[in-house]
Amino acid sequence: MTFSSYLFYFLSILAIYSAVMMLISKKPIHSVLYLTLTFFSIAGHYILLNAQFLAIVHIIVYAGAIMVLFLFTVMLLNLNTEEHSPKPVFVKLIAILTGGLLMIVFIGIFRGYDLAVFQDPALSQIGLVKNLGKVLYKEYLLPFELSSILFLTAMVGAVLLGKNEQI
Amino acid sequence: MQRISNKSIIVSDKTMSFREKIYLPAIISGMIITFSHLFRKKTTIRYPEVKREFSAIYRGRQVLKRDDEGRERCTACGLCAVACPAEAITMMAAERKTGEENSYREEKYAAVYEINMLRCIFCGFCEEACPKEAIFLTEKLVFSDYERGNFIYGKQDLLEPVDPQNRIDVSKRETPEMLAFKQEINLRHNKK
C-alpha cells in the first residue's frame, strides 16, 4: 500500500464517520460542523485525484460560504432547547419509503457504472485549472452559460422574495 | 428663528458633494495629522527617574517645623484644630519642664499632635491659622495603606528631623505675602 492509499482510507473513514455523526448528533451546531468536516475530507479526495482547483473551490464555496451561512442561521435560531415532538407513524413510513427509493436508485447507478476504468490520477490533468477552463469554455460552453443564467435567475428571485412588496 | 446670542452655531443638513462622499481626502488629511504627531515632543515624564515639578502652591501632607536651634515651634494653642474644616487635627498640650528648653521653644507644647489624613482635605487653613509658623504643607504625598488606623499621623510622622541636613524646606510657602497676611489685624489671634 502506498502513502496515498493510506490517505485515501483515512479520508474515506473520516468522511463517512463525520457524515454519520452529522445525522445522529443532538445539537444542530454539531451537525453543521460535522458536515463541514465531511466537505473537507471530500476536498482531500479531490486533491488525491489531482484536481486541486476543484478541491479549493469546494472548500471556498461549501465550507467557506454555504456552511458559514448554515452556521449563522442555526446560531440565530437557537435550536438548543430540545423539543422531542414524536412524529406520527405516517410520516415515518413515508420517510422510510423515500429513503429506500433513493437507495434503489443508487444501487442501480453503481451496477450500471463500470468501476474498472480507474486510471492513475497523477497522469490525468483534467482537474488542473488550465485544462478545466479549456474544457468548460470550449466543449461545455452552452451548459456553463445556461447554468450561470440559472444562478442569476435564482438570485433575482431571492431578491424579489426578500423585498416583501406587492408586485 | 430668533437667535438669542451669537454663540450658537446653526447646523446645516446639506447633501455632501462628491469629494466629501468618497471620504478619501478627509481620511488622508486625518492620517497626515496623526503622522505629524509621531515627531512631536512627547509629554510623558518617566516617573521614578524624572519627577514632575510641583507648583509653588502645591498643598501636600503637613510638617511640624522646628526653629533654627532644633526646638519645636508648636505651642499647642489649638488654632489649627479650630480652623480645620474637616476636623482632622487633635492635640494634647503639656507644660515644659526644666531641662527641656532645648526641645520646646515655648513653655507649653503639644504632647500629642495627630492629623487624620483620611479626613484632611489639604486646604491649608491650619498653616494660615498658625501664629507660630509651626505647621506647613509640603510637596510630600500621603501614601496608601491597608489599615485605616495607619492614616492617623502622629508627631513621629509629622515632625521634621533635628539635624540641619534633613530639614524640610518650606521657603516656597513662606512668602512675604503670606507673612503680611499673618500680620493682618482682623485675624483673631493677632488682635491686640
Binding site: 445539537k27 446560531m75 488542473l128 | 486625518g30
Partner: protein
C-alpha cells in the same frame, strides 16, 4: 529528493518561527505606535526600549487563570482559538518569500508550496478563518460573544466577495493563479499597483475588514459588546485570539506586497549583478520591508479613524466596494482585449 524534503521542512519551520516572532513584536510596535500617535512614549520599562515587553505579556497570559464558563460547549470552546491560530498560520505556505536559491546547480525555491492556484488557496484559508471566531463565540454561551461572532461572520463573508472580485483583475492581467507567476511578472518596477490602483484600494479596505482591525473591528468592539467573541476567554486561549490577529496582519501585508508591490522584486534587480543566493536573501529582506510598511499602515489607520457603524460597514461593502470591483474588472477586461 530527501534533501529537497528536508529543505522544505526547514523552510516551513523557519517561516513559521518568523511569522510568530513578527506577530510577537507587532504587539510591542502597535503599543509603541499608539503611544507615539498620542504624544506618549509607549511601553519602555521591560528591557531597553521595552524590548522584553512581548515576553512579559506572553508569560503573563500563560499564568493567568484558566476560566471556562459552566454552560460552555467544552470541546468547541477549546477548538475555537486553536482553529483561529491554525488558519492564521496556514497562509504563509503559499507566499514566495524570495527568488530561488541555487545550491550545487540545483534550484531550491524560496516558497514552501508552489501551488498552481496559490491565490485560490489564500482565499480558501481566509474563508475558513471565520470558523474559529464563530465557533468560539457560540461555544462561550454568552450573548455578547454570539453577537460578536455573528458580526464577524457577516462582515467577513461580505468583504471576501469584494476582495476576490478585486483580485480577478490581477489574475486577468497575469493569466495565472500562481502567486509565483504573479510575482515573477512584476519584475523590476512593473508593479501591479501602477496598473491596478483601484483594485489595490479595494483590497486594502477589505484586508482591514478581514483581519478585524480598526476601523472595522466591530466583532470585538469594546464599547458595545464588552469584548465581542472573546469576552469569555482568558489565559492563553485569549492570547491565541489576540495573537492570530497580528499573524493575520503580517500575512495580509505579505499578500498585498506579493500581489501589488512586486513581492521580493525591487527596481534594478538585474543590473546589480548579484549571485542568486545573495539575491534570494536580499529579496526576502525587501519583501519584509514592504510587509513592515503595511504593518505600519495598519497601525496608522487604527489610531486615526473611528470605528464604523454596522449599517455603514454593510453599505460600504455591498453598495460601494463590490460594484467598484466589478467595474474595475470590466474595464481591465476591455483594455486587455483592445491591446491584443
Amino acid at each position: 529528493m530527501t534533501i529537497y524534503i528536508i529543505y522544505k521542512t526547514i523552510l516551513a519551520s523557519v517561516i513559521l518561527i518568523i511569522s510568530l516572532l513578527v506577530a510577537m513584536y507587532s504587539t510591542l510596535i502597535e503599543r509603541k505606535m499608539a503611544g507615539f500617535f498620542q504624544d506618549r512614549l509607549g511601553p519602555d520599562r521591560a528591557g531597553p526600549w521595552g524590548l522584553f515587553q512581548p515576553l512579559a505579556d506572553g508569560i503573563k497570559l500563560f499564568f493567568k487563570e484558566e476560566f471556562m464558563p459552566n454552560t460552555a460547549d467544552k470541546f468547541l470552546y477549546i477548538l475555537g482559538p486553536s482553529l483561529t491560530m491554525l488558519v492564521a498560520l496556514l497562509t504563509s505556505a503559499a507566499i514566495p518569500w524570495g527568488p530561488s536559491f541555487l545550491i550545487n546547480g540545483k534550484e531550491y525555491p524560496f516558497q514552501v508550496a508552489d501551488i498552481n492556484i496559490g491565490i485560490l488557496y489564500v482565499f480558501a484559508i481566509v474563508s475558513i478563518g471565520v470558523y474559529g471566531i464563530m465557533i468560539g463565540g457560540w461555544a462561550s454561551n454568552n450573548k455578547y460573544s454570539l453577537l460578536g461572532a455573528i458580526r464577524a461572520s457577516s462582515q467577513m463573508i461580505s468583504y471576501e466577495l469584494a476582495m476576490s472580485l478585486a483580485i480577478i483583475s490581477i489574475v486577468m492581467m497575469t493569466g495565472s493563479l500562481s502567486l509565483n507567476d504573479i510575482v515573477a511578472q512584476q519584475k523590476g518596477f512593473h508593479w501591479n499597483i501602477w496598473y491596478q490602483p483601484l483594485a489595490f484600494l479595494i483590497f486594502l479596505i477589505c484586508a482591514f475588514a478581514e483581519t478585524n482591525r480598526s476601523p472595522f473591528d466591530l466583532p470585538e468592539c469594546e464599547t458595545e459588546l464588552v469584548g465581542g467573541y472573546h469576552t469569555e476567554y482568558s489565559s492563553m486561549k485569549l492570547g491565541f485570539y489576540l495573537f492570530a490577529e497580528y499573524i493575520n496582519m503580517f500575512i495580509s501585508g505579505a499578500v498585498m506586497a506579493t500581489l501589488f508591490f512586486g513581492g521580493y522584486n525591487f527596481p534594478f534587480i538585474d543590473q546589480l549583478g548579484l549571485s542568486p543566493n545573495i539575491l534570494a536573501i536580499a529579496g526576502f529582506f525587501i519583501l519584509m520591508t514592504k510587509i513592515t510598511f503595511f504593518g505600519f499602515v495598519f497601525m496608522w489607520v487604527r489610531w486615526t479613524l473611528p470605528r464604523f457603524r454596522y449599517d455603514q460597514l454593510m453599505r460600504l461593502g455591498w453598495k460601494t466596494l463590490i460594484p467598484l470591483a466589478i467595474l474595475n474588472m470590466v474595464v481591465t477586461g476591455v483594455v486587455i482585449l483592445l491591446n491584443k
